[in-house]
Amino acid sequence: MEGKISVYKICKIVVISLKLLTVGLLLMPPIVVATSSFNPTAFAPFPPRGLSLRWFETFFGDSGLISGIRNSIFFAVLSTALSLAIGILASFAIARYNFKGKNLLDALILSPIVLPEVAFGNALLVYFYYLKYYNHTIILLLGQTIIALPYVFRVILPSFYGISRSFEEAAMTLGANEIQTFLRITLPLIKPGLIAGIVLGFATAFNNFSVSVFLVVTSTQTLPVHLMGRMRIFLDPTIAAASTFVCLTMVSALIITEKLVGIDKLITGIRWR
C-alpha cells in the first residue's frame, strides 16, 4: 500500500514538472522579448543590464512601423470578416446538403494549407498583373483571405456537424422560415466555432509574411514584412518593443472584454463563476 502511494506521488511530481516545463517553454519567448524591449543597449544581452524606454521611443517615432501595425490590423480584420462569411456559407452547405462536387469543394477550400505560400503569393501577383489589375489593396486582401479561409472553415464545419437538426426542424415547425432559423437558432449554436474561427483567421492573416511580401506596396506594407526588412539589417530591440506593444494591446483587449462582457459568456453564452 505504501509503495502504491509513492508511485502515485512520483507520477504527480512528474506530471506537475511536465506542466511547468510546457508552460515555461511557451512563456519564455514572450518574456525574453518583453524584457529585451527595455534593454538600454542595442545589442541586447539577457537579462538586461538596466532599464530604458528608448526603443519604445524609436518604435513610436518610426512611421513605417506604426503604419505597418495599422495596415496589418486593417487587412486582418477585413480578411477575417470575408473568410468568415465564405466559411460559414461553405460549411453550412457541406454540412447540410449533398451535392455534386461536395468533396471537391471541401478539398479546394483547404488546398491553400498545402500550397507553398511563397509560390502562391508570387502566382497571385503574376495572375493579377496578367489580368492588368493593379489595385494592390484588393490583391493583398484577397491573398490574406485565401490564406485565412481554410483555418476558419476547418473550425466552423465541425460546429455545424455538432448541432442536432432537430433544433432547426423544431424552429421551422413552430413557424420560423429558413433565414430566421439560421440567424436565431443555427448561428447562436455554432458561436464557439465562430469565435475560434475569428481568432484563428485574424492570427493567420495578421502574422502572414510569405504571401504578403509579394503583394504589398509602400502604402500597404504590413508589420511582418516591415519587421523582416529591419531584422535582416540590424536586430535592435525596436522589434522587441513593437512585439511587446502588440502583445500588450491584445492582452488588454482580452482583459477589457472579460471585465465588460465575460469571455466565457461571449463564447458559450454562460457566465462561468
Binding site: 545589442f43 498583373y129 492588368k132 413557424g175 420560423a176 506596396v217 516591415h226 535582416r232 540590424f234 535592435d236
Partner: protein, 369 residues
Amino acid sequence: MKRGSNMNKKGITKIQALIVAIVIIVAAVAGGYYYYYTTTIPKPKPTIVIAVWGGAWQKGIVDGLEGFEEAYNCKVEYFIQSDSMETINKEIAEKEHPTIDVIMTGPGNTLRGMAGGVVEPVDPSLVPNLEDIISACKLVIEGKVYFVGNYFNYMGIAIRSDRIDASKVTSWKWLWSEDLYPKKLGMPTPEYFAPVEQTSLTWYGDVYHVDEAFEKLKELAPNIGLAYVDDALASEALAAGEINALMCYNVVATKLIKEGAPVKFIIPPGEKFFNYYNGPMVVKNGPAGKDLQMKMVNWLISPEAQIKNAKEIWSNPTNVKVTIPPDLAPYLLTTEQMAQAALLDAEFQAAHTDEWQERWATEIKPLLG
C-alpha cells in the same frame, strides 16, 4: 396563422446589438478605406517611391534626401526591403506596372535587373553630378551608365577587442590562424557578400583564383562558427560573444561600435581588401516618371547628400567633390587605404555568384558541421 407569429419576439440581446454595431462600423470603415484607395482623386503632389534597407541605411538615405520634397514639390515614400534582389525580382514580376521608382542596390543585382528588363540607364543630361563620381563606382555597359554608386562598402575584420589582441590582426591570413579555432569566426556566404573574392585576394592577389580560393575556404572551415546571410545575424553573434571575429563589411561593425560594444574594425595594413559600392538603381517606367527619378539620383549622389549618408553609416562617399569633415575622417577609409581597395568586377561577380553559392553548399557547408 401568420408565419413566425409564434416566435419569441423579445428582441435582440445587448451582445447581439454590440456585434451588429461592430460589424456595421467595420463595414463603414472598410468602405471608406476602399473608396479612398480606389477612387481617382488626384494626389496633390507626385509621389516617388525608393526601396531602402532599414535601420541606419534608411536613416542615411532619409538624411541625404532632406530638402528633396520641398525642392521638387513631391512626396517621398520609403519601401523597406530586406534583400534588394527580392525587390528587383518583384519589379520584374510587376514589369508592366512597376510600383517602385528607385531601388538601393549594388551593381551585381543591377546586372540581374537588366537581364529582367527593369533598369533605366542614368541620363547624364538629367544627372549632372554623374561626372563627379569616381569611374570605378559606375556600371558602364556599351557606353551607358546603368548604375551609379553613392557610397563604398569595404571588407574588413571585426573583432571582439575584449577577447582578441588587435595587434595580432596584421594580415587577412590571421583568419586562418589557431586564434579562431574552433568555430570562432563568422563568414558571409556567397549568397550574401564576397567570401570567395576576399579569399582569392588574400592568397593570390586578385579575385579570379576561384578554385584555389575554395580550397583555402576548406582549410578555413574548422574556424568558421557562423556562415551568415544577413547583417543582423552577424552583428548579433559578435555582440553576444558566439564568435570572436567576423569577416564583414564596415557597416556591420559601425552600428555595434556606435552602440558601445567592445568591437574594433580592422583593415590589415598594406593588404588588398574587397570593396563594393551601393547606390540608387532607376526602375524603368517607374510610377513617378523618368524626370523625377533622375532628379532623385542626382540628389543622392551630390556631395551634400553623400556626406549626410556617410555620417550615418561610416561609408566613403564616391563624389570627388566631397570634403570629409574632420570629425568623420577617423571613421572612413584614408587615401592610402583607398589605394588598397580591389575594384569590383561586377560582371564577373554577377556571372558566377550562382555557381559559387552552389559550390559553397556542396563543398564548404558540409565541413561546417
